[in-house]
Each structure stands twice: as C-alpha cells, then as structure tokens.
Symmetry: none
Subunit: 193 residues, 4 copies
Amino acid sequence: MWMNEHRAGPVRSAAAREAILDATARLFHTVGYENLTIEGVAREAGVGKQTIYRWWRSRGALIAECLTDGRLFPLEFDVPDTGDVLADVESWLDVILSVLEAPNGTALMRSLLAAAAEDRAVGDHLGASLGVNRFLAERLSVAVRDGQLAADAPVDQLGDAILGAIIFSSLGSDTAATAQGARDLVRYLLRPA
Amino acid sequence: MWMNEHRAGPVRSAAAREAILDATARLFHTVGYENLTIEGVAREAGVGKQTIYRWWRSRGALIAECLTDGRLFPLEFDVPDTGDVLADVESWLDVILSVLEAPNGTALMRSLLAAAAEDRAVGDHLGASLGVNRFLAERLSVAVRDGQLAADAPVDQLGDAILGAIIFSSLGSDTAATAQGARDLVRYLLRPA
Amino acid sequence: MWMNEHRAGPVRSAAAREAILDATARLFHTVGYENLTIEGVAREAGVGKQTIYRWWRSRGALIAECLTDGRLFPLEFDVPDTGDVLADVESWLDVILSVLEAPNGTALMRSLLAAAAEDRAVGDHLGASLGVNRFLAERLSVAVRDGQLAADAPVDQLGDAILGAIIFSSLGSDTAATAQGARDLVRYLLRPA
Amino acid sequence: MWMNEHRAGPVRSAAAREAILDATARLFHTVGYENLTIEGVAREAGVGKQTIYRWWRSRGALIAECLTDGRLFPLEFDVPDTGDVLADVESWLDVILSVLEAPNGTALMRSLLAAAAEDRAVGDHLGASLGVNRFLAERLSVAVRDGQLAADAPVDQLGDAILGAIIFSSLGSDTAATAQGARDLVRYLLRPA
DNA sequence: TCCTAATCGAGACGGTACGTCTTGTCTTGTT
DNA sequence: AACAAGACAAGACGTACCGTCTCGATTAGGA
C-alpha cells in the first residue's frame, strides 16, 4: 500500500491510520484471520510495525476497529419498516445471506467468528456490526407493539437466536443448507399468530 | 505427562496416544486454544513432536478427537424423555449452562468456538458433541409428533437457534445475561400452543 | 537529568549542551559504550533527540567531546619534571594505572577502546587525552636531550608502545598482571644506559 | 551461501556450522564488526537465526571462533629462527604489516579491536591469533638465552608493547606512519647491545 | 534366530512472526 | 531559530513455534 504524502510528527498520522486499517481489511478478506499477521499488515500498509503497536494493543483491536468502521462489511444492514415484520426481517436476512453466499462468504464468516472468539473486543462489536442490536431487536419490538408478535416475546433473544443459528450452522454445514435453514427458521418464528 | 514404560516398536503406542490426548485436553482448559501449541503438547505429554504429526494432521484434528472422545466435556448431555418437551429441554439447557457457568466456563466456550472457527473438522463435531443433533433435534421431533409443537416446526433449525443464541451471546455479554436469556428463549419457543 | 530552567530560542542552549555531555559521561561509566544510546542520553538529559543530532553527527562525536572536555577522566595526567625520566614516567604510569585499577576500571578502558575502534574521531583524541602526546613523548624528548635516553630513541613510538602495551594487555589478562607488566616494561625501557 | 546437502537432525550440522562461520568471516571483512548482525549472518549463510543462537551465545563468540579457526587471518605468522632476533622479528612484523597495509587493512584492524573491546572472549584470543604469544615472546626468550637481549628483558611485555603500539597507533594515525613507526620501534628495541 | 520395518523420544534444521528497541528524520507547538 | 516531545519508516534484537528431517534405541512379525 502506498502512502503518497508522508506526514510524520508528534501527532497521529491520519495517512498511516488509513493505510493500516485498509491493509488489515484487505488481508482479512484475502488470507483470513488466522493468517493475518501484524508484520503482514505493516508490509502491506508500507508502515513500521511500531506504528501499529503504538495505536492498537493487539491484532483483535485492529479487527475490532475495522468492524466499527464498516471496513469488513461494505453493506447497509438497515432495512425500511414496511409494517410487515416477516417481510422486513426477511429483507434483513437477504442482506446477511448475500454476504454468506458471496464467494468466500463462508470463509469470511469463519474468520470473523475466529476473531470474535479470540478477542473480547471483537466479540463485543460483532453483533452490533451485523445489525442485530441496531435493527433486528428494534424491529421485533415494534412487532410486539403492533401485536404481530406475542407480548412476552424476548426480542433480544430472538435476534440472538436467528443470527446465532446462522453462525452456528455455518461452522459445520454447507452454505446452501445454512441459508435455507435460516429462511425456514425466520418464517416459523415470525409466522402470524 | 509421564510415561513410565517407553515402548517403541512397529505398532502404534497406545500409551503415547493416551498421553497426547490427555495433555491436549489439559492444556486446552489451562491455556486455551490460541495458546495451545503442538510443541507444548509434546512437552506436556513427554512425547516426540513427530509422534503427534504422525497421527494427527493438525492442531484442529487433535482437538476434534478430544471432542469426540468427550475429553473436553466430561458431561452427559442425554436427558430422559418425560413427555414434557419444555421440561426436558430445560434439563438439557441446565447441563449446557452448568458448563458455561463453571469457573472459566466462558473462556472454555470461547476457546471451543475459536477452534471450531479455525478448523472445519472441529466445527463439524462441535454440534454433535454438545448434543444438538443427538438429543435436541430428536426430542423436538417427538414433540412435533405429540402435538406439543407445530407440525411445520423446523426442528433442526430450532436446535441450531437455541445453541447458536447461547454461543453468540457468550461472545459479548456477561455469562449471567446469556444464561437467563437462554432460559427465556427456550420458554418462549416451547410454550404450549 | 533535570533542567530547571528550560531556555529555548534561536541561540544554542548552554544548559542543553551541558546536560547532554553530562548525561553522556554518566551513562558511559554506568552502562558502557556499547549500551549507550542516543535515546538514552536524551532521556537522561531531559532533552529532545533532535537537539543532540543538531549538534553532534554521531555517538562517537559525543564521546570525543566528552573526552576533550575531560569528562571521562576527571584526572590530571601532567606530572612535574624532576630531572629523573624513570621516576617521572612511573609517576605518570601510576596515574594511568589508578584509573585501570579503580572499580570498573577495566570496563571503562574496554569501553573507551570500543569507542575509539568504532569512531575515528574518538581514536584521534584518545591518545591526547591519556597524555601520551601531551606529556609522555615530550618528557622522553627531554630525556634524550639530557642523555638519559639514546639519541636515536623513537620517542613517539615508545609512548605508543607503553600505552599500547597497557591497552592490549587489558583486553585479555587480568588487571593485576597488566599493571605489573606495565611497570616492568617502563623500568626496562628507561633503565640507565 | 548455499548448502547443497541439507543434513538436519539431532546432531549438530557440520554444513550449517561451516556456512555460518564462513558468512561471518565474509561479512566481517565486508561490512565491519559494527555492522555485522546476527540476522545478516543468518541471511548470508542461508540458515535460521535460531541455529546461530543455539550454538553461539553472542556475536562476539562467533567472531572469537572465526579468529581461532583462522578465518579472519588467512596468514601464517610463524617465522623461522635464523639466529638473528632483529631480522626474525622484522619478518614477523612484515607479515603483520602486510595485513594492515592491505586494502581495508586499517578498517579490518579497527573492526578486530572493536570486537575485542566489546567481547572478552574475542580479546582473549586476539593476542594468540596475532602470534604474540605463540611466536614473538618465545623468539625473544631465545634472544635472551643467546645474549642478544638483556637478561632481565620482560619478553612478554615487549611483545605486548610492539603489537600494542601498532594497534594503538592505527586507531589515530594513518597507516604509513603506523608501519614506519613500528619498524623504527622494533629496530630500536632490538638493537645490538 | 535373525532381519526388516515401523515406532518411539529427542531435538536440530530453515523459516516466519512475535513484541521491543533504537536509528535518524520529520513535525508540532512553545519560548 | 532553537527547543522538548514524540510520531514515523526501517530494521535488528532474542524467543517461540512451525512442520520436516535425522538419529539411535526399541520391538514386532516374517523368514
């Protein structure tokens, strides 16, 4: 990675930060989490190793920041509220599954999971990044208010369950089965009462 | 790990196999998956590195065999069928949560997940080991037959969802929230129609 | 090292110069030449690295200036001329050997030599600082004039030889042998004809 | 450096040892002691760093072994005894000076001295390698027995003095002056009584 | 009974990456 | 313009493991 303008100094270099996060995201997709090394990032970013260690305490912190910056998912998980829970959640699901069904999508998911399992900071931000908290649980709450879902439905847990099923399933089975299973699950959980 | 009788010869040494798997399981609990090294296992088991590489192709294969042998979970996940799905699944859930709520239980879960994410072989066996396939899906099928669950309930996916919710939740939140959330989820999903 | 009054400005700061040379000399004695770093000096002197690089081109230049300023040898190598060459040179020798026989004296000598070997500027000033040129050769010249030494005696070379013997010997042997050997050598070289 | 036959195993690889010492000697002449790094040696020798650290505790130990193996001085310092001390020592001196007067000879001498000053092991072997102990002192002893030198002449110290004068002089002056000075010194010290 | 062949513990090998340290240059804001 | 502070690219440090290999000892089963 080339840095055209070398701006060194006692204040943090924005160019270096950008190059590092960029290289991290690129390598995360290319070689996966377990083969992503700090030295590799430094090499790819055209940056000294110490510049990475100065601002991030670990490989996980690097991934976590890429996650929050949306550098690993160039997608928009927010989906409009049409009044129909099932349809809305299925829309959201389509977006999630499009990531999974993309080339190397399964590998990407496994890498994300490996990162989340090894580093608490990554785990903390993973759910948020995938839009569970931001969208899914909120949409289900509305559905409860609208009477489309039982009043005692544990909306947070249902969100975890849907995404958890996808993740767990993608650890073992093939992608197709995972995707179909997720659709069946959502259809069952959000069927009209 | 000490091997009192060193028996070299043209057939596989059962003592070495035992010592290696034993050391692997011990180190998995002690230092976690990410700090578990082949050299460390060899040292702990009092075994040459080559003896490990001869019989297992990777760190993941070692973990996978420990999983299947029940060396990482000294528990019994099978629970008797009392005729009440909710009660039975809650019994299974208690067993699962007792692992999670044990000292270092969360760390153990994260390590397992890291191993599963990095190695397909581990991922393939993880569900089975936790009793999803063996018990949960089967019990839910019986519930469908008994009319306790809707006829179109996707039992495999419900199993994935329950375990997935636990796993996903344990990546970020604290243990207590995970456990309570899992109980709420199960109670909601299996509530009498 | 603390600088109570920080005076920055368009002229060279005498306080900074002093603090830097002081810190260099202190560290030279403390950690030796090979562990003396520019960063260490800056830290110890409470000075920015650039202030060092602005005025000295290298680590060696720093040492050389300490040498010329007499900051590494707080000693007086000049010895009065009593008319007896042997006695006078033995007096000078006592001063030199008192440095060598002091605690860490050998280490100091090795550090000096390391500095001189790595940096020409240091080497150039080492002889002068130890008083070979300033005193020894001159005193021997007088002895030639007085007839105490052969007319064709190469006085510069004899000075080099005496100091060289000490230095060379202190590289390998123990201090005691070096000191006694030096005394024997001087007694032999300057014995009455 | 290529190693044609890769002979790994639980016994020390002679090929690796050879390649390492060879690379060390080559780099010592090429880049000098202060720019000689372990990584550089490993790279040049086509060897893992650990293989160096396994067998030598430091950069100095590497140099010391090269010294004793005669890899830094491909010369023969022994000179026949013709019965004439002066002539014999001048022959020895010619050999020494030919090293010094060779291209980069001064740099080589400075590097040797830097190595000796920083590492005791190197210093211990330096004198022996240059033939002071092996040849010079012994030849002077014979001269004492033959009556060519005073009976009380401290032969060891005279040896140190001659070599020390060369070394010390080569730290500051130019090569020509050093060489001529050494010849004058020897002629003076060993002049017929 | 000997011989062949596979296994064992041990550990050296060429490598890669770790996280730390220092180099010499550059920049910022202060005096 | 000089200063203290310190970020920057570069690269060496010494350590830990990787997966492959060699070694000499050990032990089974076929000749």
